[in-house]
Symmetry: C2
Subunit: 288 residues, 2 copies
Amino acid sequence: MRSTSEAVDKRLDKLLKTPKGAESQLFEAMRYSLFAGGKRLRPFLVVASADLFEVDKSRAINVAVAIECIHTYSLIHDDLPAMDNDDLRRGKPTAHKAFGEAAAILAGDGLQTLAFEILSSPDTHRDANVRCELIMELAQASGIHGMVGGQMIDLASEGEDLNIGEVTRLQQMKTGALIAFSAEAGAILSKASKQKRQLLHGYARDLGLAFQITDDLLDYEGSPEETGKATQKDAGRGKATFVSLMGLERARQQAEMLAKQAIEHLEDFGGKALLLRALARYVLERRK
Amino acid sequence: MRSTSEAVDKRLDKLLKTPKGAESQLFEAMRYSLFAGGKRLRPFLVVASADLFEVDKSRAINVAVAIECIHTYSLIHDDLPAMDNDDLRRGKPTAHKAFGEAAAILAGDGLQTLAFEILSSPDTHRDANVRCELIMELAQASGIHGMVGGQMIDLASEGEDLNIGEVTRLQQMKTGALIAFSAEAGAILSKASKQKRQLLHGYARDLGLAFQITDDLLDYEGSPEETGKATQKDAGRGKATFVSLMGLERARQQAEMLAKQAIEHLEDFGGKALLLRALARYVLERRK
């Protein structure tokens, strides 16, 4: 994860040189949020998935950077006062606290644009059909039927009694779709078979849900010192979560079951799927 | 313009069917802003540019719809309280007034994603290289070195003494780049020569500036009843505009000169450029 993180940081740094003009605060806000010490989980998934198919590392990093731009834009916008109204993210003031709301909104907007610009570049893949497929899949994962739609449902459902099926659908849209795209990216880059892609999709679906459940557990059990963000937020907002619906013990068991199930999808890949297996175990053990 | 507008509306209506779930308000906010009676200036430019090269109308409409999604997202976000804080747009409450800030932010986000999804589709062009070029150009026109960067400069410069060169750069980024892309879209779709594309770029650069100057004139001279939005805003915010810098009479002359110059770029296209010429004249005469 560290080596992926370094490669992603280096590419981002090169892409986003702060200019001198009045727009400098836009670039500073983007850089601040991109380099705030995120786990780079999605980039790691892309690189691990690309490894399965021996995809050129530099191309995988381009896709990883695009996904991280989308992920970071979503965090900046979700933290805004009109949305989740969070002051703290990864132990630091959120973007709108540090740069003001206008710069934060524009930083998110600009990061989204940048993601698609990166994917459209021949550096990402020499075959334009592959680039267009990546763009289409990223747009679907992050748009109104994916991440953006999921965030709308999340906000609209505060104080509502969602059942487990509804919370699962919400999470699959809000976070699962982008995680699934990250895991499938290697298969798209290498034009792998539909069947191999399906295996990765299954892995990512289970991994994404396990990740969300451990997120709920950390919100319930963790401390701001450990997680770098406010905790016990969900209960405060009357949000239905896997923990509130299943209870602590069952939620923990469910996360374990899902991580195990995620690993089972990888059988066909044999020893090559080492990193993806390790990631499934990491999701259970993480403390932030 | 009416026929382009109808074709764009029809395509948008088909793309954005409101689902039943909790995310319905997101779709309603997007539709509200898309169907608020905009002039569809950019779609018209795309269609007129495509006409020059006998590009299939349905493909041109796809590009037009993508650009209108970007334009509409920018209006929704620019109107937000943290940005220009506008309550009225095209004679109706702005999106955040009608649907709340969270839905407005997400509607803008989702419209941006949708634009890139549309361009990545084989319906836009059968050659993926052309689709990638459209995506790259749209991203550059609307991103941090274009529209988003221009809006940041605009906000950061309130109360500052900008000179004409600085206001021109700001406007070329904030609105000019997307107008230029719209005018060049036909050339990209038909893989026209670099030289033809340059002519359209020159046309659009002059047209875009003329459009901005008449926008400043309308803000200065117009009434909310005529324009459908608050007027005399620029002076109230201490914004440097072409009118404040040049005075009314010189600004009017400058717009006329630019429109004339825009038309001169079209000479090589002969009678085919009828619509583009008419548009340059319309920009001078519009009352909203």
